[in-house]
């Protein structure tokens, strides 16, 4: 078994390093990556830490290899991770699809920078949110967590591993250059206080084992390479044996379960944080670093007499449709604050369409929202007739 291993105590720690420490604490013992600002510090820390805990680190020749490599490592039974930024995710996307199709537990960190293309390498943005959801071709359910502090980067990296192991898929932690590069207090509790989930291994005999035969929770039990199961896994549409079957019927079963396993478990997956939502007229929706500008803006709007609440998306995907739908019936409108020109706002609009207004406070990245822009948007929505 993997030796439980990690630091403990209170540290003044950079976000990227907290992420690496979270991974080590979660049991990550393989890292494959390629340097990119602003995520390189994660790879650097893993290069130092993994040898100390009998893990393997490899700096691959590119991000395509990094993503393929962590999938391979996962099939050997390791909890693997890679970390990159937008351009790297773009390269990884084909193999992220492979990870989804083969149902491979692994964690992908995206420390977002200014975009598109090379954009602002040392600066920040949140314009990869839709990419995180829909980046690879095809239908699949997907999980993205969005920390807004080094502490949360530590915590949510552990949660990401837990989700990856539990639901068997690549899980994203989508943060940004501010969180990755900022240094704050990080509390690392004793190992006994952490919830660590490991993947479900099959207890069947090799002759009876079918690698894609799901349990009631829609998750098939795992068998790793070298354990004598001698199974097949493919990126082609496959049946329960893992064999390619080129039929509509098999495609339906195969693709649908990839979507359903996340949809049906959404309530277990979704994490949100609510502030003053009960009697609010206006609810601000935000996530990641943007959410830290919202709190002072809220206070200011309250001073002007607006009943304003705040819903922070800790998991952005799966989207909390139910929660937004229910809220939309009680309030005048939503204000969505994000460092892009309109991505998650589309989801809020979709869910609120019939009942409440939705207003975007967007920003192309490279800077932060002006607090007054958020306040004004709150006031506008509050005062609409």
């Amino acid at each position: 078994m993997i030796k439980k291993s990690k630091l403990r105590g209170e540290f003044f720690m950079q976000g990227d390093i907290a992420c690496a420490e979270g991974a080590i604490a979660a049991g990550c013992r393989f890292f494959g990556g390629y340097p990119i600002t602003p995520a390189s510090e994660i790879a650097e820390r893993m290069a130092y830490r993994l040898p100390l805990v009998d893990g393997a680190f490899i700096q691959y020749e590119d991000e395509i290899a990094s993503m393929a490599g962590i999938i391979g490592a996962s099939w050997a039974g390791a909890k693997p991770m890679t970390a990159t930024s937008g351009p790297g995710i773009s390269l990884m996307n084909e193999n992220i699809g492979l990870g989804m199709m083969m149902e491979t537990p692994c964690v992908v960190i995206n420390v977002q920078r200014g975009s598109p293309s090379t954009g602002l390498p040392t600066s920040w943005g949140q314009a990869d949110m839709m990419q995180a959801r829909w980046g690879s071709h095809g239908d699949y359910g997907s999980i993205s967590l969005s920390p807004n502090s080094p502490q949360e980067f530590f915590d949510l990296t552990i949660v990401a591993f837990n989700y990856a192991e539990k639901y068997r898929l690549p899980v994203f932690v989508v943060t940004d250059a501010v969180v990755g590069h900022m240094t704050e207090k990080v509390v690392i509790p004793p190992v006994e206080e952490l919830d660590i989930i490991d993947r479900k291994y099959t207890n069947k005999k090799p002759a009876d084992y079918r690698p894609y035969d799901p349990d009631d929770d829609l998750i098939p039990p795992f068998a790793k390479a070298g354990d004598g199961y001698r199974y097949h896994s493919t990126g082609l549409t496959h049946d329960e044996r893992g064999y390619p079957v080129m039929s509509e019927e098999c495609q339906r079963r195969c693709a649908k379960r990839l979507v359903d396993k996340i949809k049906k478990n959404a309530d277990d997956i979704i994490i949100t944080e609510e502030h003053d939502i009960e009697d609010a007229d206006v609810v601000v929706v935000s996530y990641g670093i943007s959410s830290r500008t919202v709190i002072p803006a809220m206070e200011k709007a309250k001073e002007k007499g607006v009943k304003v609440g705040f819903l922070r998306l800790v998991t952005v995907w799966p989207f909390p449709e139910k929660q937004i739908r229910e809220l939309s019936k009680q309030i005048k409108g939503f204000v969505v604050v994000e460092l892009n020109l309109g991505q998650v706002v589309l989801e809020v609009e979709r869910c609120a369409a019939k009942h409440a207004e939705t207003k975007l406070v967007g920003h192309p990245g490279g800077g932060m929202h002006k607090m007054d822009d958020i306040v004004n948007a709150i006031l506008e929505v509050a005062n609409e007739q």
Binding site: R8, R29, W75, P80, D195, G226
Partner: protein, 309 residues
């Protein structure tokens, strides 16, 4: 009929093939069936524990090999079999990891991964079936298509110089480099057995007939005709310089074991490199934590922790 079935069930390769997936999808006259048989035979000769062998393929005709071999087998994305195999091997160093894929997969879309895996001298084996063309997608030009040969994207004859696979791999740092054609099945399986036992990056090129597209476009006749041609053109020369033996439409096909060296592998280098540091830092976590332990108060509200159910 029933006799015939009985015969198939007793085939000596049964224990290494997924008989429930036979018949395979490869064309009549294709060399892949023989290549897979040589692989199975090679593993048997090497007497490795089959439970500890994993096969990784990319995309293409040869990419389908993983699906027919009864081992832990992974059919990955186009060109990425080697990085996948790298992860598999590094996460479980007890496995024998074999990449079985085609020339287009390994040297066009996946070329960068191949030279870097060879450079690192990763302890994996790569069997590259070279049929000079993209078969699965209908006969397009490959990085191995000889000058002047016809393909569906070279309707006036190929004008791109092809790669010499054994030359590249030897130059990039592989521990073992060999080339055979499908005709030399016995030597090929011996090579596969050698590679299975050998440490470091082992590369075996298998020049293999594609009857359906390469032969048809180049008036090469049937698969059997191509095999005969291979036999006639083959020269076995273990001392040949692998960088000086490119494959053309008509010249000799020089086969042999060109490189067989014992350079340290990636993981051996890692171990040597970090040994002192790991010993020196064995208590790193403890020391760092001790420094910060007195600060950690159990009563402190752990703000970031969430009940994830």
């Amino acid at each position: 009929m029933s006799n015939k079935k009985q015969h198939i069930l007793e085939h000596p390769m049964d224990d290494l093939l997924r008989m429930d997936r036979i018949p395979h999808i490869w064309c009549p006259g294709c060399g892949l069936g023989s290549d897979v048989a040589a692989f199975a035979d090679g593993l048997k000769r090497a007497e490795v524990d089959f439970d500890k062998v994993a096969v990784v393929s990319g995309i293409g005709c040869t990419g389908r090999v993983a699906g027919y071999i009864k081992l832990d087998s992974y059919h990955t994305t186009h060109g990425r079999a080697i990085p996948f195999a790298t992860g598999l091997k590094l996460a479980n160093r007890d496995l024998t990891v074999v990449v079985f894929s085609g020339d287009g997969d390994l040297f066009a879309i996946g070329g960068n991964h191949l030279i870097h895996a060879a450079r690192r001298n990763l302890d994996i084996n790569v069997i590259c079936v070279n049929n000079f063309i993209y078969g699965m997608t209908g006969g397009q030009n490959a990085p191995t298509t000889p000058l002047g040969a016809y393909s569906s994207t070279a309707p006036f004859g190929n004008y791109e110089a092809p790669f010499n696979l054994v030359g590249i791999t030897a130059a990039a740092g592989a521990n073992y480099v060999a080339r055979w054609t499908t005709v030399q099945a016995r030597r090929l399986s011996q090579s596969i057995a050698t590679a299975a036992k050998k440490k470091g990056f082992c590369f075996i090129e298998v020049v293999s007939p594609c009857a359906t597209v390469f032969a048809r476009k180049n008036k090469g006749g049937t698969g059997l005709d191509l095999m005969k041609e291979f036999r006639n053109r083959t020269v076995i020369d273990h001392k040949a310089d692998p960088t000086q033996i490119p494959l053309t439409m008509d010249d000799e096909i020089v086969c042999g074991e060109f490189v067989n060296r014992e350079d340290p592998t990636f993981w051996e280098n890692v171990q040597n490199g970090i040994k002192d540091q790991v010993e020196k830092n064995a208590d790193w976590e403890k020391i760092q934590s001790e420094k910060n332990k007195r600060l950690y108060k159990k009563t402190l509200k752990y703000e970031g922790s969430r009940d994830i159910g």
